[in-house]
Symmetry: C2
Subunit: 312 residues, 2 copies
């Protein structure tokens, strides 16, 4: 328990033994990591309630918001995640997880949050394919290409799968938009021996995160806008390498300094270059991904396979 | 922001500006109480994540638990509330709310958590009615009676509504149990000029809170039992008086020192006295309720009508 939290608890006017009593209810047969996380969460929640003299009505408003988020969540939408996102929590745990895995000076590609719009089983496509369907003449066709390498050796990685997804020009992901074909603007590409990849997509646009639910209520209550700067999502996997969840951001996009979910990192800013000579693309976007082997990524709970990891 | 939390933030190895950046996104047109609560919550959540080096996988497990709780919640069940209950949060905000309202030495009846099984619109019954239906010969029939008075003047309160609910001998509330009649073991009784009330109920039993959802997962993970000591719930309302949400506990019940939701208070312990001469009851339970006027309850956010109160 952080000493700071305990001293807070001692200066308030409420039952000084209450939190200790709740923590003491924990039995002996508890996973140490589960105990650490749950006890710390209880301490913080209780300190939060006492420091702010949280009333029953205010607490119940929070419970209803959480329940509403859960009811809105399904295979196509994760409102609980979105609620965390507008509070900066997903970007923070992303930073923590990345930092724990990465101590090298010459770092692998930085990570960014998965976001609530990832879908499993995007179509497996041939290199050079186009992931844009049912959208005509937007003037924003982009040829994206690059190489996936091992960040330490520089060796191209064979069999790396680049799973990509982004929004349509109307700012909607396909699962939010009945007018788009299923799995539009999504695809999975597998590298050959040279580690190279290339495909056609769109230069994305800023868009508002959905604000018809609890996350929107929080944004409205905090007098905040719901916009994200233009970005493309990636999930990279490769044999023997640590997966990378990331996004790349259009450096010239509106909201680049003011992302509603706080995901922008300097190393993930990219430039869309005007592109001549290809009738299928107005822009070119070169981008190389650098992955770490599991051995180079710091061992431990990140690999999801240690005794220490929490599970419920 | 508590100084303690800020100093925690300064000693970690992560982006030292991140939380400030999230807080700075708040616009100028924000209710001060909403700002206070949200900013404090963000600070605590971020400190929690950093202090424990929370990983993306661990955070996502929490999100899924929250979403699952929301999906299980409806008019008959509030799993988000139950999740808070096993972490002690509802009992804590109940204590805070009660303390804010009560400074007097001779205090009104202590409060206890509402719990997730309250239902609106319980049947309005005549004094002396029995709320037990479809349950035969358990040997635990109880005649409960007493007076509702103003805690300061001692005057009986006319028009006080006593809304009562408790579990059946099988440990289930009627909405959990298809074999019980709708609204079984619930009733609302309105006092006359003498402030007196009386009705027949059962001497309740300890029971496990539902553990087929996220709250049960938490209990299992913490190696804790799900039992509550025997208790009867009340919601008291009366013209001009502050409502009282409370429970009274059978002093001799198992789990009286080890309530899964931490709701027991000494002043709410009662004795079921063996009762002779009434063919309808084996026990007698005398209990007087003491209510405070709104004027005597400390004014402020408790009345739910001040500008300070948070709303979304």
């Amino acid at each position: 328990m952080p000493a700071a939290a305990v001293s807070d608890s001692k200066t308030h006017k409420f039952n000084p033994n209450f939190t200790a009593q709740v923590l003491a209810a924990t039995g002996p047969n508890v996973n140490p990591r589960v105990k650490q996380l749950t006890h710390s969460l209880i301490q913080h929640l209780h300190d939060f309630a006492r420091e702010n003299e949280l009333t029953v009505d205010e607490w119940m408003m929070g419970v209803e918001l959480m329940n509403e988020a859960g009811r809105m969540s399904d295979a196509k939408r994760n409102e609980g995640q979105l609620l965390c996102d507008v509070l900066g929590l997903e970007s923070l745990v992303d930073e923590i997880t990345y930092k724990l895995a990465t101590d090298a000076a010459d770092e692998p590609t930085a990570t960014a949050i998965l976001g609530p719009f990832y879908r499993h089983d995007a179509p497996k496509l041939e290199m050079g394919s186009c992931i844009v369907h049912g959208i005509e003449g937007t003037g924003d066709r982009t040829w994206m290409h690059g190489t996936v390498t091992d960040f330490k050796t520089g060796t191209p990685i064979e069999g790396a799968v680049i799973d990509v997804w982004h929004t349509a020009p109307n700012g909607l992901y396909e699962q939010q938009d009945p007018d788009q074909p299923d799995m539009n603007l999504r695809g999975r590409f597998t590298t050959g021996k040279d580690g190279k990849y290339n495909f056609y997509c769109l230069r994305p646009v800023p868009y508002p995160i959905p604000f018809d639910g609890p996350a929107g209520k929080i944004l409205t209550a905090l007098d905040r806008h719901p916009y994200r700067p233009a970005h493309i999502h990636f999930l990279l996997t490769a044999p023997g390498h640590k997966p990378i969840v990331t996004q790349i951001f259009d450096r010239s996009s509106k909201y680049i300094d003011d992302d509603a979910v706080f995901a922008v990192k300097d190393s993930l800013l990219v430039d869309f270059n005007p592109f001549q000579g290809d009738p299928n693309a107005e822009f070119e976007l070169p981008y190389d991904f650098k992955m770490a082997t599991f051995a180079d990524a710091k061992e431990g709970k990140l690999n999801g396979s240690t005794e220490e990891s929490a599970s419920l």
